[in-house]
Every structure is written in C-alpha cells, then in structure tokens.
Symmetry: C2
C-alpha cells in the first residue's frame, strides 16, 4: 500500500500520525503536528465534555488541516466489590505507609467510552478523523460519525482484529506492535491476555497482507530508519507516540519527563519498560517504577479497567506531591531511548523523511 | 554496518545465515544453504559425539564454503528431585490416560553444553564458524576455538546481553527478537523471565547502536521484505530458521510439517505460536498444541531445563506413535505463515535478494 493512498484518505501531506496520548498532551501537540503536515491527534478518553469542546475549538481555530479525535470503546465493567477489595488489599501496605485510607477515596476521574452524548458534542465540529482504541463504536454510532464524512481509524493487535475492524467499517487499520507505549488496544479475547500479540516486525506484514485498507505501523516508530523499515514491511503510514513525549508542545508532567530523560540518556538502560496491568487494570507499556516492579508486571489482584486506576489514585497523588513516581503510570514504548527534546514539527518532518 | 562487513567476516557470498535447529535438520540443509552462498548451520546440542563427527565429515566433504556448528552454553541444572516430582505430578493425568509410568522412564537424551571434550572432537575439522546459544563458553574454551581461526557468533535478547557478548569475544552478535522460533537465547537474568525482551523492531536498532561488531537480525525473517526492513534497522545480515522448516533438505518430522502447513495455509490463523516453557523448562516459541494450551504457556511447575523434556519424553513418544502432536514441541517463529516448500538454495537466494 503506497503512502500516497493514506495521505489521500487522511488529507495530509505526510503519512505520519501523532498517537493520541491521554494525560500528556492536548491541542498544542496535535496542532503542531497537523500544521507540519502530519495528523495530530487529541486524546478524549479522560476529558470531561466541556474540556473536549474547548480543545476542539482550539483545533478548529488553529488549523485548516486535518486532525483526529481519539476515543475509547471499552465496555465499562460491572461493579465487582470483591475484586475491588482485593486490589485495595494488595495496595494496603503502601496505603499504611503513606497514611492514606483507600476505602475513603472517591472514585477518580474515569475513562468514558464513546457514546451518543459524546457524538452529539463533537458533531457540530465535524472532526475530519476519528480514531478508536479497544475496537469500534456500535454500528449505529459509527454510522453517525461516518455520515459527516469522518475517516475512521482503530488499532489491531492481531490479524484477527485487523480483519474484524475492516469488516466493521474502519477506513484504515493501525497495526499496534507489542513495542507500543500505553494501553494495548486488543478488544477480542480476554482483557489481560496478551499472549496472541506480536511485535511489529511480525504483525505488520501479516496485517498488511490480510486487509485491503491502508495499514498504519505503530510501536517502536522512533525515527526515519524505523519508518523505512515499516514501509518495507507493508505499512502505508506510521503512528508515533513516545517519540513526541519530550516535545515542548506535549504536557508530559515533570516526573514523567524526568523518567523519559533517564531512559533516553546515552548508554543508559536504567529505565526499562514492561507491559503491566497494575496502573489501570488493562495491559499497557510503562517505564518500570516501584508499583510495577513490586506488584507487576501482570497482577491477578488488580481491579477491572478502569476501576484499578481510581483505587490507586490517592496513593499516586500523595507520592507525586512528594516528587516520587512510585505509583504513576510512566507510559512509554520500547524505544523511549529515542526521545528527543525537539519541536513536534521537526519530529514530524524527520518521520516523514523516512518515506522519501 | 554494511552487509559486506559480515560477508567478509564469515567468508560467505550472502549475509544470510540458516539458523541451527536441533531435531529438524542435519548436514543436508546446512550444505544446501552454504552451497547457495549463505551460511549453513549444524545444530550439535542434541547430537551424540559420534553423530557430530559424522555430520561434520559430511559438511567437510560436501563443500569448500564456510558453515557453522552450533552448541549450547547453558549450565546443567543441579538435580532437584522435588521440582522434577512437581512436573511429573502436573503431567500425571496425561500419563494415566496414556497408561504410562513417568517414574519408570529413563532420563532421555539430554542437551549437552559445549565442553573441552566436544572441542577436542571438532578441532581436527577446524569448523570455520561456531555459533552459541545461552551465552559463550568459558574464556579458556573460547580461546581454543578462536586459536584455529573460528569466527564466533552468539545470540543476544537484550542490549545488555549484546554488550556482554561483544566484551567477551563474540565476533558478531545475533539480535534475537521475540518473534523467533525455538529457545530464547537469554543468559543474563532468570531462565523463565522474558519480560526484559523485545520484538525485533525495537531490539535491533538499539543493539546495532550499542555494539561495534556486526549485528545479525533474527526472529520473523520470512522473506526479502523482512530482510530490507532489518537492513533499515541496522542489521549487517539476517538469520532465518522457521522459513527453512518445510524445505525438502530439512528433516522436520511429519507431525511438525503438518502443523506448519496448517499455519501457512492461506487465510489460516488456526495455528498460533506462543512462548512456552512446558516442553523443555526454558521459554521457547512453538505452535500451540495440547500441552501448551492446557499447561502453558508458562508453567511454574515445570522442571529445570533440559530435565523437563526428559520427563515429558515417554508421553511425547506414545502420542507421536499414535499420530498426535499433543506433547511435541512444534518450534516455529511468529512468521510460520510464510513457510514454503521450496529448496533451501532458492530460499537462501530470495533472502539474499533483500540486500540488493
């Protein structure tokens, strides 16, 4: 699949997508990427409705070029007091140490799946691209989005998921290799089972052969060499996330930035990443910190996604206030070593050069 | 690193290595690859001394071109009756069903690490390349090998291991991505911990940047596209294993061939692979079969490597005699879908074309 096909579909100059990354970026990063010829993305899963509206206004006012909004499509879990209690019990020693009562904690800001209400909210802005994680919205909702001409993207972690997305209306498929930072996007099979998932080197050529829609490579896209490799393996474009985390336009918190700088220091292997479910209840790749090391990488005690994050929130907040990242998800892909403190536009152009 | 550098080091025409694969190939496959301009490899870890001598004679008589012998460098485990018993207990339901007494089984053919005695045996043949799995032999033994001019290769699954191999005398490092079939080659850290390991897409560029010796990409090397991608990511050459398993020169047993054909059937996802320790006691990638599905992928009950395989042997033999692969390790990488029944020379040339 030629990169031109993806540019034509997205309306961009370059087949380069900035991955939506909740908690570490807003419209500023997305705008910088879109203005540089790539596709900037705004992560909406953790934003309140009024914040989504305001961010969308910034995007609409800031550029005539295309951008993407990203939403989650998970099914919120049934309340499970026993499982939540088991997670509180697993965290009890930390709570005791910090002098915190986890029982008293109010449920934290959740991650809300895409819905009719959210669709109502964004429809007036007619966002040109919508990308989804954990599958796709229900058919009627997807039809609404498509009715205003939005291009629809979603992530596949297996060939089976790629075929499912194509059959259910995705206009392009993001092949998410195991190298990617943040949440694994799988939606078929059990939440905590990553055993069918593969690295990008094996996943990408199989997905590219299996589907007819353009395939976007994600996971480990650190620079122009990786873009060239992805192209050789059948990608029509790339999506990079971690590489943007130290850009000045990202809102990556100071603790997260410090951990990334450590990982990117020459010759350093001080900060490895691992796939873990301890931060949110679903497997996601993070730099290794205290909670991940002591209760992870994968824990059977963890509460369901996204409840686990809410239970953990008070511990996280207390530690962060003391300057410690012990309980903070430090989302990053396997190529955190390649993070550079350069403007997002420059990174977008560097990635685009991989297609030349 | 240019592919020419690796060809000059190995004395080959093409920077293409056929991975040593114990149990599924002998001199015939290695000869076919070496004659076609690549580097054929003979797996020695499961061969008795007289078999190694005879295979070596075949290689020496069959070609003037370079070839590699492969040996393991694991430390044989301390006897651990309790752990062995736990493994027998885990397998007891299968044994009962098959009418087999696992206690009565004699220890099966082991996997022997490289030794002074094996060095004595091969020295007269002066094999031009030696490749090792699970690290390197002790310094004095490695010095003996180097004294006759042998080029030394070994596998790294992390940047740390690549640096270790370079510092301890490896002339080139094989970057073994998580996609690879058969045993993971890690030798630093715990036997059953694969959490620090990465897919080839992330591992390869980091290893290529970290060491000065040529880096050989392994894991997912299915054809010329993958070779081009590996080159873009910094490889000086490639090592392919699974891709050779259906070649007529391989001795892949009928059950293993049948499973691979299933995996390679167009549109088939019937046979996935997984990393498992249930066959030998160390993590290795196999097509999914009954034992892997029911006791794996990773089991805490398994005996140490390679004792677990010996305990399992009678069950495996009985099932195989009945035409079932329930207990047979079906080693294969993530790209088993790309296996083709073509002569090894043709495959070697196809892989070599990826450098053109």
């Amino acid at each position: 699949m030629a990169p031109r096909a993806l540019c034509a579909l997205l309306g961009t100059e370059l087949p380069v997508i900035q991955a939506p990354m909740a908690g570490v970026q807003g419209h500023a990063l997305a705008l910088a990427v879109s203005r540089a010829g790539g596709l900037g993305s705004l992560p909406c899963a953790m934003l309140a409705p009024e914040a989504i509206r305001s961010e969308l206004q910034w995007l609409r006012d800031g550029t005539d070029r295309p951008f993407a909004l990203n939403f989650f499509c998970h099914r919120p879990p049934e309340p499970d007091a026993q499982r939540e209690q088991a997670w509180r019990a697993a965290l009890a020693p930390y709570a005791a140490q910090a002098g915190i009562d986890l029982e008293a904690a109010p449920p934290g800001a959740g991650r809300t799946p895409f819905s009719e209400a959210l669709c109502d909210l964004i429809e007036p802005f007619r966002p040109p691209v919508l990308s989804f994680h954990f599958g796709l919205p229900a058919p009627a909702l997807l039809a609404r989005v498509k009715a205003w001409g939005a291009v629809v993207l979603s992530s596949a972690t297996t060939v089976e998921e790629a075929l499912w997305l194509e059959a259910h209306g995705a206009d392009a498929v993001i092949a998410q290799g195991l190298e990617a930072g943040g949440h694994r996007g799988h939606f078929l099979g059990a939440d905590n089972d990553v055993s069918p998932q593969q690295g990008l080197f094996a996943l990408l050529p199989q997905v590219a052969r299996a589907v007819r829609v353009p395939v976007i490579a994600a996971g480990g896209i650190a620079g122009s060499h990786e873009v060239a490799a992805a192209r050789a393996l059948g990608a029509a474009g790339v999506q990079a996330g971690t590489a943007f985390l130290l850009c000045p336009e990202a809102t990556t918190p100071a603790l997260h930035r410090a951990a990334l700088r450590e990982a990117a220091a020459p010759g350093s292997a001080a900060r490895d990443t691992a796939l873990t479910n301890v931060f949110t209840g679903r497997p996601a790749r993070s730099l290794v910190n205290r909670l991940l090391r002591e209760r992870g990488p994968m824990s059977a005690d963890v509460a369901a996604f996204p409840v686990a994050a809410a239970v953990l929130a008070p511990l996280r907040a207390t530690a962060e206030a003391q300057g410690r990242d012990d309980f903070t998800p430090l989302w990053a892909g396997c190529r955190a070593d390649a993070c550079r403190e350069i403007p997002a536009a420059e990174l977008t152009r560097r990635l685009g050069a991989g297609w030349a």
